[in-house]
Amino acid sequence: MLRTTPFHPRTEALCEAKNWRRWSGYLAASSYELHHDREYWAIRNSAGLLDVSPLHKYRIDGPDAERLLNRVVTRDVTKCALHQVLYTPWCDGDGKVMDDGTLTRLKPDSFRLTSALPNLRWLQNNARGMTVRIEDISEDLAALALQGPSARRILSAAANGVADDLRFFRLTKGSIGGVPVEITRTGYTGDLGYEIWTDPDNALVLWDALMDAGRPHRIVPAGMLALDVARVEAGLILIDVDYVPAHQAVIEGRKSSPFELGLGWTVKLDKGPFVGREALVAEKERGPEWEFKGLEISWESLEELYGAVGLPPQLPSEGWRTSVPVYGGSRQVGYATSGCWSPVLKKYIALAHLQATHSKTGTPLRMEVTVEHKRRRAKARVVDAQFFNPERKRS
């Protein structure tokens, strides 16, 4: 039996489509309406409200909290200011990515880590001999993501302006609907957005207050289908889809290093020892074999392939999550792991693992598409994975 989140009484009533999926053992709405269009457009055009409570959350306290985290993650935690949030992956001893999430410094020696998978044991194993308390607070914290260009205005109305000047990847505290909340300027959509954290007992009050404040701004509860398109547009990787967590990979070839996932910028090799550092130093020296990039599939090429059977191009109406071969000339040089038609960019886009020999931006490649039951190869071009990156995200 799947569990429900603290927001379930509200989300269930609104979920007209009755379209649910599992997320870390919880029920999560795939879409609220029969079509996820409006939910997607809310994220890009007004604001979407997403229940992200199923995230795993840990609280790490104590004099050695910073030391422990700096040992585990690839970012430099000593540089993390009070109320700053870091996005970071963490690796196994071979420098292969196990998980990724956000790390927030709540107090000088107190942090919160979010993750996609359970990480309690990994954190404890790395904490031997340290003075630190690690607590799984996954069920003690309910969370909503408010994402989209109207998010700031809605939050301003709901939280009395407390987050008006909140900078990208920072935290502030306030109250919404009379209940205490923590607000971080974070999200998984590549848009202006916030995540709001509260005690599960306050969940319904928080939901109602945000929906009330959001109504004049056309807030729309949004599900995972809408989120999936938004995160592909933003070039944000998804565990178990775009990469296999190292400790769950049954064969070596399924593992990826941060360099191979476009996360080289998070690897701070000169911060001192951390798990996987030696392997990452060596990899950096020889250069990674794979790169994670964006693909823009050529419309003209699709038109030609579909035109040959008398059809206009058939576009995926939802994001897809399968492994699709990518070719350079006649040879396979990689595989795409997620893709979608981007309604905001008016482009067919995909995220792909490419051999470093074929990963330079601008490289012409081909991606497999199935046209009327037949395998065809559509022209594609290598681009930066961050397809959509509006100014408002950081401004």
């Binding site: 029969l34 079509h35 269009d37 409006r38 457009w41 890009r44 055009n45 007004s46 109207s150 205005r153 004049p216 701004h217 056309r218 419309w299 008398g310 059809l311 206009p312 191009p313 058939q314 576009l315 038609w341 309604p343 905001v344 960019l345 008016k346 482009k347």
Partner: protein, 527 residues
């Protein structure tokens, strides 16, 4: 007299003029656009008429904008966002209603409630229209060949066209023949029995024409509207974030990025002709600008009869342009609202407010509205196509308030006794009174009202007789006949003078197609 010389001057900063400018600038040409008004877009403009309330003043939905233009000019990067319009709600006088939703099953169940037969026919009809639209659509991006010309170019064009239609099945070919010859009411009668469904569908056959649903030829216009597509989904209509003006702004931004110069409040008074060639333009203020070619994006009447002296054009051509039918038949009412209209047929705030609302209860209703216009009056109970942009893009109105865009037909440009301010407001009253029958709270919710009759559209936007399509979208004025026989290829009888805009092929709507094709034609001739 300006010292600098341009490769091309574009007259009119409507969306087609801007598309032409962008394509020419993209090809490295020195281009300047002259727009008479202070805003760009022509009939595709967003204006904040009342503080905080943004109106898509004239044109209000997008669908026909050519995808190749969106790609070539990378319009999404320049701010173009097209948001889905999901449903069409037709309230009925007996407090019933008919809705076509975005979801197929939802629509089917609704149609079934009115007629189980129609629910089945709707799917078959949809498939056939889809096939026809796919077949006819390439014509939108094709320079029409002249059927009477024996030049290899025209013959090849017809050969391609012929091959195209040969690929159609029998059923589709016959349907196409019927669409070309029948009235939309008759055509739909062959398929459906629900009055409200037939009326609402037939309305797309009369929009912008001076015809009623029972007038032959309107069935084709129905198909014209089926050719709209968004993201490859045909028959999808959308709303541009920021209003329709945002479409023009995104094209202008692309044009500027490619180096085009765009001047507003710079009306062109005439095209300068020397030795039988267009060599430049004179502005209202007297300034003159010279260029290798001049492209007019105005309607054919202005392009030829106003800007160019008749002595520079052949007599038969002048006659053809004089005969070109351009009677305006529609108006627009834009409202600022303190609250949403509450329809007695479907009370409360619901998804219907995010889609289109159509006042078209029956074919008789529409035909009666036409009858009044035929004899010189505006319709006392008009056809209306309504959207509430603020429900789709919250930026269009202050939070909690709304804007309502009402397309109204019929309002004849040649109203008996002529239009004046009193008659314009009487027309606005007829619109509000009619709507109040379906949503009684509406009159009390109105904060501001803007009424545009063909008279206003002519005076303010500069569309002759207020015809929103720069000339009627009827078969005798389409394809190789638009705007005149032999001159459908964006050239004109005056050397170095080119034309684009809705008065040229493929006709009205925000397509950008004529601007693109005219630019390509100029580039070809200049190479």
């Amino acid at each position: 007299m300006s010292a600098s010389r341009y490769d091309a001057i574009i007259i009119g900063g409507g969306h087609n003029g801007l598309v032409a400018a962008a394509y020419l600038a993209r090809a490295g040409k020195r281009v300047i656009v002259f727009e008479k008004r202070h805003v760009l877009g022509g009939a595709a403009v967003t204006e904040e008429i009342f503080p905080g309330f943004k109106y898509s003043v004239c044109s209000y939905v997008v669908s026909l904008l050519r995808p190749e233009i969106i790609r070539d000019l990378d319009l999404p990067r320049h701010g173009l966002q097209i948001l889905p319009l999901e449903s069409t709600f037709t309230p009925l006088p007996n407090d019933d209603y008919l809705v076509r939703w975005a979801d197929h099953d939802h629509t089917r169940r609704e149609l079934y409630r009115h007629s189980p037969r129609d629910a089945d026919a709707y799917d078959d009809f949809g498939k056939l229209m889809y096939q026809l639209a796919v077949a006819v659509k390439p014509i939108l991006a094709m320079i029409p060949p002249d059927p009477t010309s024996m030049s290899p170019k025209d013959l090849m064009g017809f050969l391609r066209l012929g091959k195209h239609f040969r690929d159609l099945g029998h059923e589709q070919f016959h349907a196409l023949h019927k669409l070309m010859t029948m009235s939309s009411a008759d055509y739909l009668d062959e398929w459906f029995e629900t009055e409200a469904l037939k009326a609402t569908m037939s309305a797309s056959g009369i929009i912008g024409t001076f015809l009623g649903p029972r007038s032959p030829g309107t069935a084709y216009v129905l198909l014209h509207h089926y050719m709209g597509e968004i993201d490859g989904a045909m028959r999808a209509w959308g709303f541009a974030k920021g209003g329709t003006g945002a479409v023009s702004e995104s094209i202008a931004s692309a044009a500027r990025e490619h180096g085009a110069e765009i001047r507003t409040e710079a009306g062109v008074s005439q095209v300068i002709v020397r030795n039988g060639r267009a060599v430049g333009v004179a502005l209202d203020g007297g300034d003159e600008f010279h260029a290798r070619v001049v492209v007019s994006a105005l309607d054919p009447k202005l392009t030829f009869l106003k800007l160019v002296g008749e002595q520079h054009l052949p007599d038969d051509f002048i006659q053809a342009i004089r005969r070109f039918r351009i009677r305006g038949s529609s108006g627009k009412v834009n409202l600022s609202l303190s609250e949403l209209p509450d329809f007695t047929a479907m009370p409360g705030v619901g998804p219907l407010h995010q889609g289109a609302m159509s006042i078209s209860p029956s074919i008789d209703y529409l035909e009666r509205a036409y009858d009044e216009a035929k004899y010189g009056d505006f319709s006392s109970r008009p056809y209306m196509d309504i959207i509430i942009p603020s429900m789709i893009d919250p930026g269009m109105a202050p939070p909690g308030k709304h804007v309502m865009s009402i397309f109204v037909q019929y309002a004849p440009s040649d109203l008996s006794g002529g239009w004046d301010e009193t008659k314009r407001e009487a027309f606005g009253d007829a619109v509000v009174d009619t709507l109040a029958q379906y949503a009684p709270n509406l009159p009390g919710a109105i904060l501001h009202r803007q009424v545009l009759t063909p008279w206003d559209i002519d005076r303010v936007m500069g569309l002759t007789d207020g015809n929103i399509f720069h000339g009627e979208l009827t078969l005798q004025q389409l394809f190789c006949l638009r705007p005149a026989v032999g001159w459908a290829d964006f050239t004109t009888p005056l050397a170095n003078y080119y034309q684009c805009g809705s008065g040229t092929h493929p006709g009205g709507g925000i397509t950008g197609a004529s601007g693109r094709m005219a630019a390509l034609r100029v580039l070809k001739d200049q190479s």
